[in-house]
């Protein structure tokens, strides 16, 4: 009984320590989970590092070669990662692409031309 109480106390103290951490300089990005029952095209660590390479490779294949519907398509990203509230990956500061890019201070130009919202048009 005492052991259980001690464990509960420890967990509580631990949580308090975690909650205190974001008071640092830059808050960590809050990444909204992707659409339920979906699995990304590659493991998370690969996607975090290599998604620009994948997108750049695919954009040339699509624009010049006319190959659509490939795995690494921007539309595919948006379909799964669009925020529940905005239906977008880039409209609100908490949306999927923007939250990380703001944290990493990397500007994304994609959505100056590409639609960032989930396809309403077909």
């Amino acid at each position: 009984m005492w052991r259980l109480l001690a464990a509960v106390l420890l967990v509580l103290v631990g949580n308090a320590a975690v909650a205190a951490e974001p008071a640092g300089r830059t808050p960590k990005p809050a990444i909204e989970p992707a659409k339920a029952l979906t699995q990304c095209i590659a493991p998370t660590e690969v996607m975090r590092r290599d998604h620009p390479k994948m997108l750049k490779h695919q954009r040339d294949e699509t624009v010049h070669g006319g190959i659509r519907g490939a795995a690494a398509s921007l539309k595919g990203c948006i379909d799964c990662h669009a925020g529940a509230a905005t239906h977008s990956v880039a409209k609100a500061p908490g949306d999927f692409c923007v939250s990380c890019h703001a944290y990493a201070a990397v500007k994304i130009d994609c959505f100056e031309c590409h639609a960032s919202t989930k396809g309403t048009q077909r």
């Binding site: 659409k35 029952l37 979906t38 699995q39 990304c40 095209i41 954009r59 040339d60 294949e61 624009v63 010049h64 070669g65 006319g66 190959i67 659509r68 519907g69 490939a70 795995a71 539309k75 595919g76 948006i78 379909d79 799964c80 100056e112 031309c113 590409h114 639609a115 919202t117 396809g119 309403t120 048009q121 077909r122």
Partner: protein, 250 residues
């Protein structure tokens, strides 16, 4: 003592067997992952076919002066919006022409002519202007620097420059400030496997039937049959650019 661990082992094995059976059920079949079923993603398309030459035949005898059905359809399909300023993007323009000596008039929709020898591609300093394997002339906006040399080179004045920031682009038609753009022959439709453009579809739907779209290289297609049977003209044929858009009745 020696009998007890065996019993435990047996129980563990049975449990493992049940777990394995459960896993097999979740995996469905080798190579089939949940993502393919959940996303129902469109299949990867084969890309531009070099055997195809997409083209258009415009029958000006059926094109009514003042009718803008094709222009409106293009604006809706590509998210261009109705132009309000002289500098706004126009992918199709209606041109009213008149032969001064005879007074004969015609109304002609003019868009990118998708030349076989496109001068816009020749002059582009970054390689952004290019011709696809199936004859469609496009701008790769990723490498367009907005110098507008192609607009100067085009004898058909087919290209537009986007001067202002844009919002709410269509997912299939990305476009933005600082890039040159023009008619894409509705390339997003063709890549999906559709066989017509928005303008040709709208013209047919309105009952005019002045625009025929198709594969000029396929002898069985309607456009190939029509250009074989009736007299057609390429605009500025003297420039020897071999446009993919042909006109009848001018």
């Amino acid at each position: 003592m020696s009998g007890e661990p065996k019993a435990v082992d047996g129980g563990r094995r049975a449990w493992l067997g049940v777990a394995a059976a459960g896993l097999a059920g979740v995996m469905l079949a080798p190579g089939v992952r949940l993502i393919e079923i959940a996303r129902a993603a469109p299949a990867r398309t084969g890309g531009a076919d070099p055997a195809v030459r997409w083209g258009m035949l415009i029958d000006t005898t059926k094109c009514a002066p003042g009718c803008e059905d094709c222009v409106t359809a293009c604006q809706t399909e590509n998210g261009l919006g109705t132009p309000t300023r002289p500098t706004d993007a126009r992918w199709i323009r209606k041109i009213e022409i008149k032969e001064i000596k005879t007074g004969r008039q015609a109304s002609v929709p003019v868009m990118c002519q998708h030349c076989a020898e496109p001068p816009c591609v020749d002059v582009c300093p970054t390689g952004a202007s290019f011709k696809r394997a199936d004859g469609i002339v496009l701008v790769d906006r990723h490498s367009c620097i907005g110098c507008r040399y192609c607009m100067m080179a085009c004898p058909y004045k087919a290209r537009s420059f986007v001067h202002e920031p844009l919002t709410d682009q269509h997912p299939d038609v990305p476009r933005g400030k600082g890039c040159v753009e023009s008619c894409t022959l509705c390339v997003h439709r063709l890549d999906r496997g559709e066989k017509t453009t928005a303008c040709a579809e709208a013209c047919a739907k309105a009952g005019h039937g002045a625009i025929v779209f198709g594969d000029l290289n396929d002898p069985g297609s309607e456009i190939a049959r029509r250009v074989r049977e009736i007299q057609t003209t390429q605009l500025r044929a003297d420039l020897k650019l071999d446009p993919g858009v042909r006109y009848h009745g001018i």
